[in-house]
Structures are given as C-alpha cells and as structure tokens.
Symmetry: C2
Subunit: 378 residues, 2 copies
C-alpha cells in the first residue's frame, strides 16, 4: 500500500489593523494557522469535518509528511479512505491551534512589533480564542458550516466551544473523552507541570529561544501528564513492577530502577524535541480557564445556544483524567434541553489515551453517527 | 484541658564494628533513632504498640512538644488517654525511620568517617532495613514482643514487614491504607518527584547541606505527592474551580490562578521547611523497592511466616493511591493461609489522607480489635 503523503498548508489573517480580538480584550494579529486537509470539499461545501487536536497534538491527523516517515498522523486509524471519518466522503480539516508550536502563531512565533519571538509578550489565550481563530480558516476555505466537528480531550472542549460560540457553523459535534470544565484535580496536575517549567533555570522568564530551552522542566511536565493519560491498569499491564536490569542498591538516583520510570523519562525527553515550553504554559492555562458555562447562568443555558446541533458524546472506562461522569454532565444538560444527543461509553483499560487507541470501537460509533446524518441531509 | 507535653528520646546503637547489615549487604552504624513514647510499659512489658509513620511523617504521633505548639502530633486523634490506641492501657512507641530527617540517622546525618553529612554516601535502605533498625529500639526498651504494630501508607508496609521478618516480635498487626507492593503508577509518581529534585540545580549531586537546598524540586515532589493523597472528590469539595481573586488574563504564570494551585504551592513550600530532599530520594526508593513477597514464591508464602499474627486490614473508599483492591490482595492471602484476619473498608471521600482524618471510623475499628485481643490475653 502506498503511503498517503500530506503537505501542511498555511493561512495568515487578522493582520493589523484588523487583529483578532481575544477573550481578554487584547488583540492578536497577524495570525498564521498551519493546517492539513484530507479528501475533497464537495461543490456545495457541505462535507467538511473539522478535527481539533489535543493539548500536545498538532494538525497532522493522518497520512505521512514524507515517504520516509515511520509514524503516520495521530488519528490515522480514524481518518482515511473507508475509515470512520471517511475521506472518500468527507473533507477533513485539522489546524494547529494558536498558542501551539507547529507553525501556528504562538509564543515561539516572531512578534512583528519586535522582530523577536513573543515569549511572554504573547497574550493569554482561551479555548474560545483557539476556536475563533479556526473560524477564520473556515472563511478562508469558503466553508460556512462544517458538517461535523470532533476531537478528544482538549479537542473535545474545542468542538463543544464551536457549537456554543458559533452554532450556525456546525451541524454535528462529537466530543470525546472530555469535559465541560476542568476539575480541581485536573488543574492541580497542570499547575505542577507549569511549575516544573518555571523552576527550570533555563526557562529564564520565557526568554530562551536563542539559548538552551528549559527541557528538564518541560520533560517533567510531560511525565506528569503522561501518568494521567494512562490508567493504573494499563500501566500495570504494560510495566507491572518490571525492573530495568538487576535490582540495584546503588545511589544512582538518576537511573530509573523500574521500566515504568524509564518509559516516562523517554516520553519526557522525546516531547522536548517537538514541543515548546512556553506553549505548554499558555495551552494548559487555556485548558484551566475553560468552562463551557462561562458567561451563562448554567451549562444548560450555554448549551441551549447549540440546541440545533446534533451531539454524540463519547467517554471511556478507566479514563480518570476526564472520567465518564464529566461526559454525563454534558449529556444530561443536552437531554434536559431536548437536544439531539447520543452517548457512547466505551469500556476500555487504556485510560484517557483510549481516544487515540480504541479505534475499532470509536469507528463503530463515529462512522455510524456521521454517515447516518450525512445520508439524512442528502 | 492541659496539653500533653512530650519530649523525644534518642537511642544510638550498631556502633562499629557491630554495624547493622542492610538488605544490600552494606553496613550502617552507628545508628541513632529518635523516638517518642506515650503511656507506661507494663511490668510484663507486654502492652507495647509500635506505630510506624508514613513517608513524610515522623515520631511525633501525639501530644505537643511545647505549650506554644499549635498543632499536635500527626495521629493525636487516635493516640491518647481513652482514645483508640489508649495510652492508659498501652505503651505507645513511634520512631523516626532511618533515612529520615527528624534526628534519626539519614542522609543529612554526619557520616562519622568523614565528619560531613552522608549525602549520597548514605547507603540505599529498604523497608526491611527501616523495620530491622526499630527492633534494636525494642531491644533497648527491653520489649521482646510488641502487643501490636500499626501504621498508614508506608507505615502499614512497615507493620506488615515486621510481621513477616520478625513474626515472634509482634502479636497483632493493623496495616492501614497500604499495599504489599507499589503499583507501576505509584512508582511513576515517585519517579517524577525524584526527578524534580534531581533537576533542581541546588541539588548539586546531593551535596547541598552547607548551601541553599533544592527546595524548588522538593516542593514540586511534594505537590505531586499531595495530589495523590487527596481524592478527586475531596479536592472538588475543598476547592472546586474557585479562583484566587479575579479571573486574570495576565501572563504571570508564577501566580496560581486557582485556589487549588495556591494550596499546593503552600503545601510544597511548607514541606521544604521540615524535610530533607535527599531523605525524599532514599525513602521513596525504599517504598518503590518494597515487595512483601520478595524472596518468597508468593505473597501467601511470605505471609505464612506471620500466620500466628492477628491482622486487621483497613482500606478507604476514594483512596486511589493504595486502593482497596490492594488491601484485599493481602486479606485474601491471609485468608488462604487460614490466618486470623479481619478486614474493614471505611467509606470515605478523603482519598489516601483518610487514614489521618477518619478518626471516628478508625477508632471504632481499631479500639475494638485491640481491646478485644488485649482482654483475651489477660
């Protein structure tokens, strides 16, 4: 089988004096979004599926950037010809979020006012801002309304935010392994991750782009995050208490004694090769600040704006970062509204990462939902 | 009511050439243990209750060190006249573990060979070593066999270790909120905490006793630990998503935006005032290495050594660090042996910290168990 080779595109908008106004009231512009598309936009421009990526993800959903690439995009099992989000049928779009570090405007981008990276001059952004920026991309592509929007984890927050903030721009929304607001425990883990970065002497107040970056801090933040992405059970299955080599009584604390520690260190290290520490600060803050009910008396009132949008909410067993109860809060609010909502709980031992791994179960749920509604509207 | 004023005692033993042989084969000595006692030892010396403290605890179980002290010892609600572990009846002993930093020999103690703090010249210790050292204290006090041993979390591991390694020295054991071995997830959290210390430039390979200590790293490790001590529910009840002041869009990442972050920072900071970073490394490593079945074909074979010891195993709902399943593994192994075991699961929303907080429920369970067996033997 030949590899699907995909090239990222980019679009720049909101140039001064027409900057995008952020939720904070500050302005940001020009804004570049790096994005990828898969499949073809229908003449009626009514078959677009917008995928939002998670905290550390990017626009590279499926396929390969080059023949030599070993790994495909992060949701390759879900997106492609004949797959759940069938590129023979749908025009799939995924953009790197603003605040990110894969080419979309973020703290590592050049601030046109200074000619240097923004660093902490980059304004605080919210999930609302991230989504708003992507409506400019839809405008650029000439798409008034996407057929569907979906995403896992933070991507699911963004999909719901699109439905509430821009209900005329989306028909179907599939929030996966997500929440209408972070819990105190979620915020606590993010807080510790951020402090690991801030305490790294190489962080230097965010000004490290021409120096050694704060990779120790960023790796630590990622290690903490990674523990929350796995279930206790999946960690146990994967590592148990397996030692790395012989049980040792040496005081070389810098060597991980158990395989699980070794794995986390590897994951942390690899993350620093592709992620920017300041982006981690900004994006986790955006997640912390997210509350879908913000500005409304209740979540139900907020979701009332999206009452004509059809929802499929998906949660996973053993996901303790955003447990099923948090999905049920959303489902219940939508049911109270008499909105069109389906709920699928997938039994899994993979923890939060299930949204990336339970491809078969997700395919059954998502393919059915999308194709039925697509057929309906034809 | 007048405050019970308690003064710590100390005993030194295992002086060269009679050093204590550690599990690693290395030798440690002289060893000092700082300990406190409450109540009076019976003439028959048969009423001693040995309490083992948790990772970050110490020998100060109950009462006050001085009239001016605001806070009593860590288990004051459980230990005292008329309380669950009734000091009118029992002679209660608690020692600061070796490896610790409240006066017992640990990495911050002076290495007699160099006249300087051990730092990383301190040998790796295990739960077995910690317990073995306390048998010297029992010898010093002239106690052949303690009536009971108990402890929560790591203290529970130590109580079980005493029963398996020295079954003739204990009659009753009450392991609380504990496990026969750490899970991969437990080890993962410890690993991240240790790395936070190692990455603090002030750690300096462990040599910081005459310099600024690695308090940022130690505080981070404590913050991570603290999240695991609380349940999602108790964090939610305590903080929800409560903001610290106004919602802010400033890039002062060094300020916690939510109360939960503020609380964790405070807890982390306070911890550095009383704990030594190297002790944290050694003690978490001891916990990681703990496996009650180590050296035996199975946990059942290991516990078979303690088949004449009576057990009361206690677990808590919402404790996700050492969940009830881990207690049940112990209970089931003891039942298989036909050993004397009672099991009490206490419904709680406090998470792992419940062993410090659910005093009423614990009192019912522990007082009944101890008093019944004490009466029996009279």
């Amino acid at each position: 089988m030949t590899k699907l080779i995909i090239k990222p595109n980019r679009v720049t908008f909101a140039a001064p004096p027409d900057e995008m106004v952020l939720e904070s009231g500050k302005k940001l512009g020009p804004i570049t979004l790096v994005y990828e598309t898969y499949g073809a936009l229908s003449p009626a421009k009514d078959n677009a599926v917008l995928i939002f990526h998670a905290l550390s993800g990017d626009q590279h959903v499926a396929g390969y950037h080059a023949e030599a690439d070993e790994k495909p995009g992060w949701w390759d099992g879900m997106v492609g010809s004949g797959r759940a989000i069938d590129t023979d049928k749908y025009f799939v779009i995924c953009a790197n979020n603003i605040g990110g570090c894969q080419g979309s405007t973020g703290p590592s981008s050049i601030n046109p006012k200074t000619g240097k990276p923004y660093a902490l001059d980059f304004p605080v952004i919210t999930i609302g801002d991230i989504v708003k920026a992507q409506t400019y991309l839809l405008d650029h592509l000439g798409i008034k309304k996407v057929f569907a929007a979906t995403g896992g984890s933070m991507g699911g927050m963004e999909a719901m935010q699109l439905a509430v903030a821009f209900p005329d721009r989306v028909e179907n929304v599939i929030p996966i392994a997500t929440t209408a607001r972070l819990s105190a425990q979620n915020i606590a883990f993010n807080e510790v991750g951020r402090r690991a970065i801030l305490h790294d002497p190489n962080w230097n107040g965010g000004n490290y782009y021409d120096k050694t970056p704060p990779n120790n801090g960023l790796a630590l933040a990622r290690m903490i995050g990674h523990i929350t992405y796995l279930s206790n059970e999946s960690m146990h299955k994967k590592f148990g208490r397996e030692l790395k080599g012989e049980k040792q009584f040496e005081t070389n604390f810098d060597e991980a004694q158990f395989q699980v520690g070794n794995y986390l260190r590897y994951k942390g290290l690899r993350f620093t090769e592709r992620f920017d520490a300041n982006s981690y600060l900004y994006i986790t803050k955006a997640a912390d600040l997210f509350d879908l009910a913000d500005g409304y008396p209740s979540l139900k009132d907020s979701l009332a704006r999206a009452k004509n949008v059809k929802f499929l909410v998906i949660s996973f067993g053993s996901d303790w970062l955003f447990p099923a109860e948090q999905s049920l809060v959303i489902v219940d609010a939508l049911k109270d509204l008499g909105a069109h909502v389906s709920y699928k709980h997938i039994d899994s031992t993979y923890g939060h990462d299930a949204f990336l791994l339970e491809t078969d179960e997700l395919t059954v749920a998502i393919k059915g939902f999308l194709d039925a509604h697509y057929k309906e509207k034809k």
